[in-house]
Amino acid sequence: MTDAMEPILQINHLSKRFGAVQASDDVSLTVLPGRLHALIGPNGAGKSTLISQISGFLMPDAGQIFLKGRDVTHLSAERRVHMGLGRSFQVSNLLLEWSARRNVMLAVQARRGGSFRFFKNVWKDAELRAAAEAALQKVGLQDRADIRAMELSHGERRQLEFACALALEPAILVLDEPMAGLGPEGTAEMTAFLEELKHSIPILLVEHDMDAVFRLADEISVLVYGRIIASGPPETIRQSVAVQEAYLGSSSDAA
C-alpha cells in the first residue's frame, strides 16, 4: 500500500524570482496517485509561474521537480509530456484554424510518435482518427468534431483542451484555472467531470472557485506571495486562521 502511494509529482524547495518579485519562494508539494491536490491563492501569488516550472516552460532558480520518482528539473517541456505530464493553460491554447478533431489528432500523433513520417496521409489515418474520436467522446464533444476551434464556445474550447490532454494519456494533469469564465452551469459540469477523472488520473488543480475546490480536493495548499502558507486536508484549510486572514477572508480576492 505504501508503495502505491509514491508521489506522481513531487516538488522540492522550488524558487523563482522575477526581478523584485519572488514568484516561487521555497515551494514544496506532492501529488499522490488517485488524489486531487488543489493550489489556491490570490491573483499574482505565483500559481501560473509554478505550473510553468512544473511543465518545463520556465526554469526554476533553485529546487527540484520529480515526476514518477525521476528528476525532471532539467528536462525539456516535450520530454516531460512524454513522461506523462499533461497540462491545461489558464488562457486557451489551441490550433484555432483547425477543427476540433484535427486538434486532438495532432495530440494523438504526438503521443504515438511519427512526426517525422513524410508520406502516409495523416488525416485519413484510421488509428489517429479513432483515438481522437474516443477522446472527444470522453469530454462530450463528439458532435462538434468538425467545427473549427475558433468557432467553438469558450466552454467547448476548454473541453477540447481536455480532450487533447487526455489523448496524451497522461499520468498526471496540471490544470490552471479550468473553470475560469465557464459560468455556474459550466463550472458544475467541469466539477463533475474532474470528480470522475481524478480517480484515474491524479490532478494538481489551480482554481479560484472555492465551492469546486472544497468539493474536489483531497489536499489543499495555499500560496501567497510565492510561499505556501498552509497545506493540508480541506477541513484543516477551511479552519486555518492564517488562511482566513491571508486569503479566504478577503472576499474580493477570492472572487
Binding site: 516535450e78 509530456v81 484554424e97 495532432l106 512526426s115 513524410f118 495523416v122
Partner: protein
C-alpha cells in the same frame, strides 16, 4: 475535390499545352518564357514550404537559389575547358551531367540551410527575416569578390548541361524536363504536407507553444522544413542557370529573395500550387508590361498591395476558395 484542386489542374495542364502549341508553331521564345514561369514557380513552391506551411518568413532564400545556379555554372565551366575545381587534397573536375549537378546543388543547399537554420530559427519575426537576409548577403558579396567565377560579371554556361535521353538544348525538351521536376516536387510536397510531418509543421506555425505542450518540439520540425525548402529552391536555381545559360551574383541578391516572396504572396501563402500562379503572373507582367514601361514594378507593387489587402489567400485564395481544415 476542392475548387483549389481544379484550379491547380487547369494551371498544370495549361502550361504544357501552351508550350506544345508554341512548340508546333515554332515560338521558341514563348517556350522559354513558359519554362521561366515553371522554374521560378518551382523556387516559389520551395520557399512556400517554409514560409507558407512553417511560418518561416525567410528573406534569404536567394542564397539557396544562387547556390544551385552557381553549382550548375561552375560544373559547366570546368567541364567546358576540362579543368579542375579543386586539385588539393583531391582532384575534382567539372561535370556536364545535370543529375549529378542537381544532387550536388541539393546536398550543398541542405548543408547550408541546416547551418543557417540552426542559427536563425532561434529567432522569430523581424529578427528571423533580418538574419536570413544577412546570410544571403554574405554569400552575395562572396560571389562578387570571387574573380575565378566571374565576380560581378557572372559566369556563362556555353553549352547546356546534359540529361540522359533528353535533348536539353532543345527548348521544348528542356521545358518538359523542368515540368516533370515541377510535378515531382509538387507531388512530394503534397505528400509531406498531408503526412504527420506536415501536421506537426503546420501546428508549429499556428501555435508553437501548443506543439510543445503536447510533446512535439517545434525546432527540429521547422529546421527540417527549412532544409527541404532550401533543397527545392536550389534545384530551381540550377535549372534557372541552365535556362539562361548564365549565372551571376544577382541570383543571390536580396532582390531575388524578394521576388520569391512575391511569388508566394501573389499566388497564395500556404497554397501548394499558389507560388506557381504567382510566378506566372510575375513573368507575364515583367514581360508584357515591362515591354511597355520601365515602371512595371510600380504596377506589380499595386497588384501586390491589392492582394495583401483584399485577397487573403492570394490569387489562389481568390479563385480557388478558402482552405478547409475538417
Amino acid at each position: 475535390m476542392t475548387r483549389e484542386f481544379w484550379v491547380s489542374v487547369v494551371v498544370l495542364v495549361g502550361l504544357p499545352v501552351a508550350a506544345f502549341i508554341a512548340h508546333i508553331t515554332g515560338e521558341t521564345y514563348i517556350i522559354n518564357l513558359l519554362t521561366r514561369m515553371i522554374v521560378l514557380g518551382l523556387a516559389g513552391i520551395g520557399l512556400n514550404f517554409a514560409l507558407g506551411y512553417g511560418g518561416m518568413v525567410s528573406f534569404g532564400h536567394a542564397a539557396f537559389f544562387g547556390l544551385g545556379a552557381y553549382v550548375a555554372g561552375i560544373a559547366a565551366f570546368h567541364a567546358f575547358d576540362d579543368s579542375l575545381i579543386v586539385s588539393m587534397p583531391f582532384e575534382l573536375g567539372g561535370t556536364n551531367q545535370m543529375l549529378l549537378i542537381w544532387l550536388i546543388a541539393i546536398f550543398l543547399a541542405a548543408v547550408l540551410a541546416f547551418l543557417i537554420g540552426l542559427i536563425s530559427l532561434r529567432t522569430s519575426g523581424v529578427y528571423f527575416i533580418m538574419i536570413t537576409l544577412a546570410f544571403a548577403q554574405m554569400l552575395y558579396y562572396f560571389a562578387i569578390s570571387w574573380p575565378a567565377y566571374g565576380g560581378e560579371d557572372g559566369l556563362s554556361i556555353y553549352l547546356r548541361n546534359e540529361f540522359p535521353g533528353v535533348q536539353t538544348d532543345k527548348a521544348f525538351s528542356f521545358f518538359l524536363l523542368c515540368f516533370a521536376i515541377l510535378l515531382l516536387v509538387l507531388l512530394l510536397c503534397w505528400r509531406f504536407i498531408n503526412a504527420r510531418f506536415g501536421a506537426a509543421l503546420q501546428g508549429a506555425r499556428m501555435n508553437a507553444l501548443r506543439l510543445s505542450s503536447i510533446g512535439i518540439a517545434p525546432f527540429p520540425v521547422k529546421l527540417t522544413a527549412f532544409v527541404i525548402s532550401a533543397m527545392i529552391v536550389a534545384l530551381a536555381g540550377a535549372l534557372y542557370g541552365e535556362l539562361n545559360g548564365f549565372v551571376s551574383p544577382s541570383n543571390l541578391s536580396w532582390h531575388m529573395s524578394g521576388e520569391l516572396i512575391i511569388f508566394v504572396i501573389l499566388g497564395g501563402v500556404g497554397r501548394l500550387v499558389g507560388p506557381l500562379i504567382g510566378a506566372i503572373v510575375f513573368v507575364l507582367l515583367e514581360t508584357y508590361l515591362g515591354g511597355l514601361t520601365d515602371r512595371w514594378q510600380f504596377f506589380l507593387g499595386l497588384i501586390l498591395l491589392a492582394t495583401v489587402l483584399f485577397a487573403n489567400g492570394g490569387i489562389m485564395g481568390l479563385i480557388g476558395g478558402r482552405t478547409r481544415h475538417d
